[in-house]
Amino acid sequence: MKAAVIIFPGSNCDNDAKSALEKLFNAEVSMVWHTDTSIPKVDLVILPGGFSYGDYLRPGSIASKSKIVEDVINKGKKGTPILGICNGFQILTETKLLPGVLIRNSNLKFICENTFLKVENNSSIFTSRYKYNEIINIPIAHHDGNYFADENTIKKIEDSNMIVFKYCEKNGSISKNSNPNGSIKNIAGVINKSGNILGMMPHPERAYDKLFGTVDGSKVFTSLLDKLLR
């Protein structure tokens, strides 16, 4: 498997994503600098977590205008699998590749903790190895992960099965109490209509080795293998 991780000034989970891909399936990972104009031909593009451009203006907004993102948009529209994690998700909403926006957490604080997620869509290329409604444990670490969209958009993404992960209790119930950041409908991850671009606030690259206490994030990456081997 070949993958590319985009590095923006201020990205800080770029190496974590690289390690995860290398550890999980010895992937060949190219690190692509933000001023480059094209991404090599790969099976997966990752927009990593961090604080691209210092989160100045709005998280993800300056990165969405960077040179390399033009090619991300290009490849995304042509069907290359793209995974935006945390700041990467913010960049994807800023580019409009994904619907909605990520606003400040409802408690106005940075939150770093393990969260339970419910897999709402296991038919995507990123989630095919999960069971439908499986409850998984993946950490979050963000200041602006409060997913918001207007009613029409929400209806549209619900009808099109674009909500992939929701925050939930340990037993799976979707409650206010289990919503760490105020996201509408407890939304933690969204995929585009064509099913090749996933944005998620939780960090699967921090949850692939039992050393970190949970391996529940690894299937986000390994699911892709099924598609590639097919």
């Binding site: 000034p9 800080n12 989160d55 604080k109 940075f110 770093c112 670490a141 050393l211």
Partner: protein, 733 residues
């Protein structure tokens, strides 16, 4: 020396006094120069001779803490200490205070504290792998406390999270003696190749001096002098002396510097911390016994018409001074261009022995470097031993209820869970955090290898206040014990000595005795101090903080498959290893429940400490103990409760026959709680007996409640709620 373009303020002894120099120090300046200094020069003297930069009150005593061992690659005196950890790698670490700025502007003060210590680490050529923060506030009842906690925690998180270094531990503490003088002590640990450490000593006449990083502004001017003075009612006017941080630039600077360090162009490097360009350039030149020439017009500036003294004293953040090999300017510049950071050749090394500053093509200051450093004032302050107040109980002890006492202690400000704090810190980024905040020590894997570093910070200021020598010794011993608890071999420590006004003999006495205590413990435990920082004048309106010699310690784990955690398993047997005396002086129990005001902290027996510690460490390394927790503030019952809450499994326990209820709350030192499967019972009991280590079978891991036979039964749910509720409630109400 002044001309029409560079008009400078007039200088008099009064100017010197306003800048924080004494009259005799001013006279010394005149003697060194052989003339009256101009204003810029005087400013430079005042910064270099401030307590913060010169250690003039503590130097005499710091020199006595000189114990080093063969693993130490670089001891105190550089940006950070360096210790060999094997496999060609070194751990680089230091702790530093940012107390005064954090009180004036909690968010920026704390944030730039993190920024400063991060730079100290990567200046040495190390990639930072962990941050820790010890924060001490006034009473929760004090009106400003909530605002300060909110700002400091957000500032630490805001900076560390953005740079992408996990914040994995520290302490949060409340006591009314910090009401108007909070403490923010930041520690960073980094990893470097042991043969690629970078130092600040300049060499090579003619080599260019490079300025990189943020532009210089008017923030933080006189910061070093401010940090060396007491607070009074004019505090709010001091806000402009606090620097403003930009973690985004720090992240770029970190990556750019580490990239530059991979090529062979750097001769020496120094971050611009306290007293900015002044102290960094002085330090480099003086260590290399050279002169330095700087053209201030070349210093990148973010404001217009800055004066020479402003440029020299600015404490704008995220800046570095680098001496590179002549001819390599272009190579270096390319890297900083890639990271979009200002880069400027601002001067060169000379053989004059002077610091010569130019502005508008004329000389604005000319100072001899050697005497300014070697003749810096060093004071032999008067000191008085802390009197050991009568420890006999005058008050009759109340009969206590164990259950109620425990719940009260677990929900008290200092013993309650600090999750509210560390949830705001990204403690997982870099995916090496094997044990994060809220444990005995944090454990961070090294470069994805089987090795890991264990890191802890410790100090009980109530103990130090009762008996400075014993209290400081205890802080070192506890940090040693906390490293053992996770299965790490203790390596070395850093210290951050926070005290009041050293001109008062009783405060100076605390400093002297605390240093003696640290010295004794580090020598006995083979646990050298490799870096440190001193913060004095922590007083407001004449009232000093509790003496706080904060210790930060690092140990090494060679095989991450053998780590002990604060998690036990159902049906395991629970043991206490170590001597269970009843010692309640300076204890949490005394403070919260009995209130007798006993002043003698628990005794520290280094010989026993070492013996038990080594035994426990060996057993963890062999996989015999997988659960280990030290008994500290609050005593055995608090430690047991923490294990139960953490593991989500209860226990049935019993004290030795005939012991009083107080037994559960004693803070006797050198004790560990361990658990083992039943089949290992005989092995443990026989082995400890053979080498004479007290080993008491306390009970069994079991059920959904913490129970003491016939005395107490608390459900896990209640225990957890009681422990976790206080801080979030305090912060939201």
């Amino acid at each position: 020396m002044t001309n029409s373009k560079n008009r400078q303020k007039k200088v008099s002894p009064l100017t010197a006094y306003d800048l924080g120099l004494t009259i005799s120090e001013y006279n010394k300046v005149i003697k060194i120069l052989g003339r009256k200094p101009n204003f810029t020069e005087l400013c430079i003297f005042s910064a270099m001779w401030s307590e913060h930069c010169s250690y003039k009150s503590s130097k005499k005593w710091l020199k006595t803490m000189n114990y080093q061992n063969s693993s130490v690659i670089c001891g105190p005196g550089e940006n950070a200490g360096v210790i060999d950890i094997g496999n060609g790698l070194a751990a680089v670490f230091k702790m530093e205070s940012h107390n005064h700025p954090s009180y004036i502007d909690p968010y920026q003060g704390a944030a730039t504290g993190v920024g400063g210590i991060l730079r100290d680490i990567f200046t040495m050529g190390a990639r930072p792998i962990a941050n820790l923060n010890c924060i001490r506030f006034g009473s929760p009842k004090y009106t400003k406390t909530k605002y300060l906690v909110e700002g400091v925690v957000a500032g630490i998180g805001g900076y560390g999270n953005c740079v992408g270094i996990p914040t994995v531990g520290g302490e949060t503490y409340f006591n009314k003696n910090y009401n108007n003088n909070i403490l923010v002590n930041a520690m960073t640990v980094g990893i470097a190749e042991s043969n690629k450490i970078f130092y600040s000593k300049a060499s090579g006449v003619g080599n260019p001096v490079i300025y990189v990083g943020s532009k210089t502004g008017r923030d933080g001017i006189h910061g070093a002098s401010m940090a060396s003075a007491e607070f009074d009612e004019t505090i709010d006017s001091k806000r402009p002396t606090v620097q403003v941080g930009d973690p985004f630039t720090e992240k770029l600077l970190l990556e750019a510097c580490l990239e530059l360090m991979e090529s062979d162009v750097i001769i020496s490097i120094q971050d611009m911390g306290a007293a900015g360009l002044t102290s960094s350039s002085f330090e480099m030149a003086s260590k290399g016994k050279l002169g330095i020439e700087i053209n201030l017009d070349m210093v990148p500036q973010r404001e217009t018409s800055m004066e020479a003294f402003e440029i020299m004293l600015s404490e704008s953040q995220e800046r570095m001074l680098i001496v590179i090999k002549k001819g390599k300017e272009k190579d270096a510049e390319k890297i900083f261009q890639k990271w979009e950071l200002p880069f400027s050749i601002i001067g060169k090394l000379t053989n004059t022995g002077n610091m010569t500053l130019y502005k508008n093509s004329s000389i604005v200051a000319k100072l001899p470097i050697a005497p300014l450093v070697s003749e810096a004032p060093e004071y032999e302050r008067k000191w008085k031993k802390t009197s050991h107040r009568n420890n006999l109980l005058n008050k009759k002890l109340k009969k206590i209820n164990i259950e109620k006492s425990l719940l009260k202690i677990l929900s008290s400000p200092n013993l309650s869970s600090k999750k509210w704090v560390w949830q705001q810190y990204d403690h997982m980024v870099m995916t090496n955090t094997l044990i994060g905040p809220g444990s005995d020590a944090a454990v961070i894997r090294i470069n994805e290898s089987p090795n890991a570093l264990a890191i802890t910070t410790d100090c009980n200021p109530i103990y130090v206040n009762g008996n400075p020598k014993l209290g400081a010794k205890q802080a070192v011993a506890e940090s040693w014990r906390n490293l053992i608890c996770v299965g790490a071999k203790p390596l070395a420590i850093t210290d951050c000595l926070n005290f009041g006004n050293p001109e008062k003999p009783e405060i100076m006495g605390q400093i002297v005795e605390a240093i003696q205590g640290i010295k004794e413990a580090t020598e006995y435990l083979d646990f050298p101090v490799i870096s440190g920082n001193v913060s004095l004048y922590n007083e407001t309106d004449g009232k000093a903080i509790l003496p706080t010699p904060q210790i930060g310690a690092v140990g090494i784990i060679y095989d991450i498959d053998y780590i002990a955690k604060n998690i036990w398993k159902e049906d395991e047997l629970i043991y206490i290893l170590g001597e269970n005396e009843i010692e309640l002086g300076c204890s949490v129990f005394d403070e919260i429940i009995q209130n007798t005001g006993q002043f003698q902290p628990p005794l520290v027996n280094l010989e026993k400490e070492k013996k038990i510690g080594n035994f426990v460490l060996n057993k963890i390394k062999k996989g015999f103990f997988k659960t280990c927790h030290d008994i500290s503030e609050g005593g055995a019952l608090v430690a047991i409760s923490e294990l139960a809450i953490n593991s989500e499994i209860g226990a049935e326990i019993e004290a030795p026959k005939g012991s009083s209820s107080e037994w559960w709350f004693s803070e006797s030192q050198g004790r560990y709680i361990v658990t083992i499967p039943e089949k290992q019972k005989n092995t443990l009991e026989n082995e400890t007996k053979k080498i004479n280590i007290p080993c008491f079978h306390l009970g069994k891991v079991k059920g959904n409640a913490l129970q003491i036979h016939k005395e107490m039964s608390i459900s896990l749910e209640e225990l957890k709620t009681c422990n976790e509720a206080w801080l979030p409630e305090f912060m939201t109400n």
